[in-house]
Structure formats: structure tokens, C-alpha cells
């Protein structure tokens, strides 16, 4: 079922490819064309992404898989506006992100993107509820924020753990708090870099189910990186990265059933 890799199907989905250009959703949130990312370390240049195309539509559920070092985190950092591409075109709702200042990128992140990390990164001095509120703590809307945070924690099944501190929660519970946090700004995309990497299989499965439910209920696209195959089962699309190139894109969603193959 995996097609022979070539220049064309080495690209992930719709963008920048004449054969699939009709399938590009007009409402794509973020899209990249021929994106290259290089790192310079000690005079040596490492090419982490060697020209990839991607696009994320609303309520997409995309799994990114591939061996360690293949560029998955790099790709997510670009999607999350945490880093800028070395070359290629990355557009957020049609605007070229390379023209953004650091301040603009920061604001766009706040408006558009939620993050979930492998190591949770909860703030130990804040309760579960406060951790969820954290991204909005500087907004002067404490009552509204609190309401929403409570609602989200209830949604992820932690309605009875609001005032617990992170060290009083299990790994799975911490990740649920982090997922609730990622949704507090009502983002369009949640980016999760190996969210189940520190969890046992059952807990990880439940986290992914949660992602699947949330992207429907909250109308949010989810892009999750993982090296566990079972994670990919739940996704609409699976993107396989190998050595900085997209080797395989498997689409399960009806409107992408055509796939990128010519």
C-alpha cells in the first residue's frame, strides 16, 4: 500500500503540487511549500527538513511518525511558529510567516496554537486549575478564564482534581491538564510532540482518544508526533518522515481519499 517514494509523493498532502492542487482546502490554517530547515552546529550544517510540503485544515487529526532524528520535532516547531524555516514558504492563513517579527509570531502563537509536550511542562507552583489558566493569566479576564479552565478540566475528566498540584497527579493526569491548558486560548491547532512518550500504553491510548474527541468537540486540528505505531491508528492521516523527507502519507479521511499520488 505504500507507493514507491519519488519527488512528488515525498510531499505531504495538498500544497504546491500540480497533481493535488485542487484538493488544497481553501480554509487551510497553515501550509508550507518546499520547506527546508537547516541547523548550524559547530560549523556543520545539519539539514533537518529537506523540502517538505504540508497543510493543516481545521479539525484535521494528523499523526507524524518516523524514526528518531528524522525531523518530526523540527516540523512541529515550524508549524508552531516556534522556529522559522531556512527556505521555502510557510503561510499562516495566507500570510508569509517569515515576515513576522518575534512579537507578531508570539501573538499568533497565542491566538492560533496550543502545545502539548512529552514532559508535560506544568508549573509546579500552580494548581491544575491555575496551570490551565496560565496562558491567559496576563489577560485581565480572570473570571472568564477560570470558568473556561474549569470547564476544560471537567472535559478531560479532572473535575475533581482542580486544586491538586502537579506532583499530586499521575503522568496521565498531568498530560490531561496539559491538554486542557493547550485549549484555553481556543486555538485552531494543537501540536503535540510525543504526548504519550512518558506514559504507559493504556494511558497513552486514552490520551489519544481524548485528542480524537476534542478535535471534534472543540473544532481544533491536532497534529501529534509519535514513534508508536498504535498512536497513528487513531489519526485521519499519517505522515511518515524519514531523514527529513516525507516518505509516505496515508489518508483515511474521505475528502483526502484520492491521496497525493498522480
Amino acid at each position: 500500500m505504500a507507493p514507491e517514494p519519488n519527488e512528488d509523493d515525498g510531499r505531504w498532502q495538498e500544497a504546491g503540487d500540480h497533481a493535488t492542487s485542487e484538493t488544497i482546502p481553501t480554509d487551510a490554517i497553515i501550509r508550507g511549500t518546499d520547506v527546508v530547515k537547516e541547523y548550524e552546529t559547530g560549523g556543520q550544517i545539519v539539514r533537518a527538513l529537506k523540502g517538505v510540503d504540508f497543510g493543516i485544515a481545521p479539525a484535521d487529526f494528523v499523526a507524524v511518525v518516523g524514526p528518531s532524528g528524522s525531523g518530526k520535532s523540527t516540523l512541529l516547531n515550524l508549524l508552531g511558529l516556534l522556529d522559522v524555516a531556512t527556505s521555502g514558504d510557510v503561510r499562516l492563513r495566507g500570510r508569509d510567516v517569515s515576515t513576522f517579527t518575534d512579537r507578531e509570531r508570539t501573538r499568533k502563537r497565542k491566538e492560533t496554537i496550543g502545545f502539548v509536550f512529552q514532559s508535560f511542562y506544568l508549573i509546579p507552583t500552580l494548581t491544575a486549575l491555575e496551570n490551565v489558566e496560565m496562558p491567559r493569566m496576563l489577560d485581565r479576564t480572570p473570571t472568564k478564564t477560570r470558568q473556561r479552565a474549569r470547564q476544560l478540566l471537567e472535559r478531560v475528566g479532572l473535575g475533581d482534581r482542580l486544586d491538586h498540584y502537579p506532583d499530586e497527579l499521575s503522568g496521565g493526569q498531568k498530560q490531561r491538564v496539559a491538554i486542557a491548558r493547550s485549549l484555553i486560548n481556543d486555538p485552531d491547532i494543537v501540536l503535540a510532540d510525543e504526548p504519550t512518550g512518558n506514559l504507559d500504553r493504556d494511558t497513552g491510548d486514552r490520551i489519544l482518544e481524548l485528542f480524537d474527541e476534542l478535535r471534534r468537540d472543540e473544532n481544533v486540528a491536532v497534529v501529534t508526533v509519535t514513534h508508536d505505531d498504535y498512536v497513528a491508528e487513531a489519526a485521519d492521516r499519517v505522515v511518515t518522515l524519514i531523514d527529513g523527507r516525507i516518505r509516505e502519507t496515508e489518508s483515511r479521511r474521505a475528502n483526502f481519499e484520492e491521496g497525493p499520488d498522480p
Binding site: L82, R107, R109, E111, F115, I123
Partner: protein, 393 residues
């Protein structure tokens, strides 16, 4: 909403900062201690110094119309010459100074004083006067009228050696006399800068001295009728027309010199205090750098979630400033307490703060807070400019 929640909602940065500090309690406490030391150093040195100055200036109060005349001692061919004022010199001073009171003083080079039990009063000086009642008032006992066989002593000597009128002291002056005297009176405290250093002096009647020479003369003008400037000039004209024979100095000038000298010393001491605040700044900068490194990934999360650099800087600077504010809040009452103790000691009233003295406490507090704030800037700037990707790994 309860008030605490309201505050947190209102000033989230401060609330976050406070909690972050409570994470490394010991480290925060050490940084605060450094600020406390700095604030106390500046505040206590400042108020203490002011109290000391006040004490001294009070001591000068009574000497507004006073000048001292001393022979301008020369050192020639291995010998000291012009070491004394003669009776004739004293007469000339009296004539020149007009209505002024002139008090010739014997200040013998070799002398000692002993109590009846034989204890030596090391720090006591012996001076011979004709009529101390012209110049001093008694704190205890009465100033003798026709002074021949008794002595009067300074307040400090009396206090340090538990002496009172009626006690006896043995006074030995080389080449002059060695005998025991009854104390007639203890003088009112005069302050250490009073002419003759009266507080540490044992005054004996001038008639005890055989020699005719005096080491010093005190000239006092009643400032309501005469001018000490005029008297000073007249004495200068009388003696120093051709060559410098005597040195005439007004106590007022000495007071100014003292104030100036004291200002320099105090500035130096406060400089030392300021250095301790510099040390506090280093401590705080170090504390904040460590905090920034420890919390790198956490700060990365804040940045990823859309906290602008400015917010991260505010958060960390708020933390360091809280250290300064807490340090100052502890340091200020401590400095005031020490100031009160010094006031009590020197001025006899714990609340005798001067505006200048209190200003030093204010300066200490201000510097403490500002130092902490400034010390937090660099670590905060550094943390905020770390790219979130690098911070998250």
C-alpha cells in the same frame, strides 16, 4: 470572588513571582538577607552618624562666642621654643580683647591621677584654671568660689569611675605637686569637642602651679555686647603683627571644620554601606540567573504559549524586586531600631531622629529596592531572549 483571587487576577505577574520565589526558599532568604544587611548598613550608619553629629553640635552650642589662644610652638635646633604664654601675655590678651573673659590654662605635659584605692585614671587629663565657675556649671556639687584646695572633674571621668563630690583623688604633676584633693563638683557634660576637653579633665586650682607659664588661654566674649571676631582680630594684631607668635581659633570655626570632617567620614561610612548593597546586587543577580536557568523550559512554555518577552522580563524582574522590597521591609525597622539605640545613647531620647537621619533610612530602602530591580534585569533579559525552541528540549 475573594480578595486574594482578585489580587491574583489583577496582578498575575506579582502573584506568579511570589510563588516562584517560594520555590527556592533558602536561596530567596539568603538574597533577602543580603539586602537587609545593605539597608541596615546605610540606614544605621546614616541615622547613627546624624545622631553623633547632633550630639557634637549640641556640645558646641555654648561656645558661640569663644576662641582659644595658643602659643605658636616652634621647633628649632632640636628644642621646642615659644611653648608658653606668660602672665604678661595674658595681660596683653585681656587688654586686646577688651570686655572678654580670658581664662589662662595650665596644661602640664607630665601628670597622673589616682583614686584613693590606687587605681590610675589613664584617660584623665590635668589642667589648671583660676576660676572654673566663670566657664562651667556643676552637675553635682557646687562650683567653689574662692578656689584653693579642691578640684572639679569632668562628667565622663566621674561616670566612668563612679566619682562624686566629696570623694578624693591624688593628682601628680611632674615638677609641680603631688597631693590629694577633695572633689568639689562634677561638671555638666560638655561634649568631646568642647575646648579643653572638659569631660575628661581634672581641673586643679591654678595656684597649685609654681611656674608662671600657660599652655593655652580661652577667650570668651558675651556675644550680646561684643564680637568674637573683633576680639580675635585684636589679639592677632597685638601678637602676630611682625611674626606669628600665637594661634587664635574660634570654636565656631572648629565647629565648621568638625562638620566638614564629619561629613567626609560619614560619606565614607555610607559608601561602605553601599558596598554591602553592591554585594546584595551580586547575590540577587546570581539568584536570578540560577532561577532563570532552572526554569528555562518553563519559561520556554510561557513563550510558546504566547507570553511576550516583556512579560517574561516583568516576571523575573518582579521576583528580584520582591526580594529587594522584602529585604528593605525587614531592614528599615532594624535600621530604625539601631538608630533609636544610638539616639538614646548619644542624645538621651530614642526618637530624636533628625530629618537627615531618617532620610538615610529612606535612601537605604530606595537603594535596596532599586539595586534588586537592576540586578534582576540582566538575568530576566537573558531568559526572555532565549528562543522558546531552545528552552524546550
Amino acid at each position: 470572588m475573594n480578595p486574594l483571587r482578585w489580587l491574583v487576577g489583577r496582578f498575575p505577574t506579582l502573584a506568579l513571582a511570589r510563588r516562584n520565589l517560594s520555590r527556592a526558599t533558602l536561596r530567596s532568604a539568603l538574597a533577602i538577607t543580603a539586602v537587609v544587611i545593605g539597608v541596615v548598613a546605610i540606614g544605621a550608619i546614616g541615622t547613627g552618624g546624624e545622631a553623633f553629629k547632633q550630639d557634637q553640635l549640641e556640645a558646641y552650642e555654648g561656645f558661640g562666642g569663644t576662641a582659644t589662644v595658643e602659643p605658636d610652638v616652634q621647633f628649632e635646633d632640636g628644642n621646642l621654643t615659644n611653648t608658653e604664654l606668660s602672665d604678661g601675655d595674658i595681660d596683653r590678651i585681656r587688654q586686646a580683647a577688651g570686655s572678654a573673659t580670658v581664662l589662662p590654662v595650665h596644661e602640664p605635659a607630665g601628670s597622673f591621677v589616682q583614686t584613693q584605692s590606687g587605681t590610675l585614671l589613664f584617660r584623665a587629663r590635668v589642667k589648671g584654671l583660676e576660676n572654673p565657675g566663670e566657664f562651667y556649671e556643676a552637675r553635682n556639687g557646687t562650683m567653689p568660689d574662692n578656689w584653693r584646695r579642691t578640684i572639679v572633674i569632668g562628667a565622663r571621668i566621674a561616670d566612668q569611675n563612679d566619682l562624686e563630690p566629696g570623694d578624693r583623688l591624688r593628682v601628680n604633676v611632674t615638677d609641680e605637686f603631688d597631693r590629694s584633693f577633695e572633689i568639689a563638683a562634677v561638671l555638666k557634660p560638655q561634649g568631646f569637642s568642647a575646648p579643653l576637653g572638659a569631660d575628661r579633665t581634672v581641673f586643679v586650682p591654678a595656684s597649685e602651679f609654681e611656674s608662671g607659664g600657660y599652655e593655652q588661654a580661652i577667650v570668651r566674649v558675651d556675644t550680646t555686647t561684643g564680637s568674637v571676631d573683633a576680639a580675635t582680630q585684636a589679639i592677632e594684631r597685638e601678637f602676630n603683627a611682625r611674626e606669628q607668635l600665637v594661634r587664635v581659633e574660634q570654636v565656631q570655626e572648629q565647629r565648621e571644620q568638625f562638620t566638614e570632617f564629619f561629613g567626609t567620614v560619614n560619606q565614607f561610612l555610607i559608601g561602605v554601606g553601599a558596598i554591602s548593597l553592591l554585594v546584595a546586587a551580586v547575590t540577587i543577580a546570581n539568584t536570578m540567573l540560577m532561577a532563570a536557568i532552572e526554569r528555562e523550559s518553563e519559561i520556554g512554555v510561557l513563550r510558546a504559549y504566547g507570553y511576550p518577552k516583556r512579560a517574561v522580563v516583568s516576571l523575573l524582574v518582579a521576583e528580584s524586586t520582591i526580594l529587594g522590597v522584602v529585604g528593605a521591609a525587614i531592614g528599615a525597622p532594624l535600621a530604625l531600631g539601631i538608630g533609636m539605640a544610638i539616639n538614646q545613647l548619644l542624645l538621651g531620647d530614642p526618637f530624636a531622629f533628625t530629618a537627615a537621619g531618617l532620610r538615610y533610612v529612606g535612601i537605604g530602602v530606595g537603594f535596596g529596592v532599586v539595586t534588586a530591580l537592576v540586578a534582576g534585569l540582566y538575568p530576566a533579559w537573558k531568559a526572555a531572549n532565549k528562543r522558546p525552541v531552545e528552552a524546550l528540549d
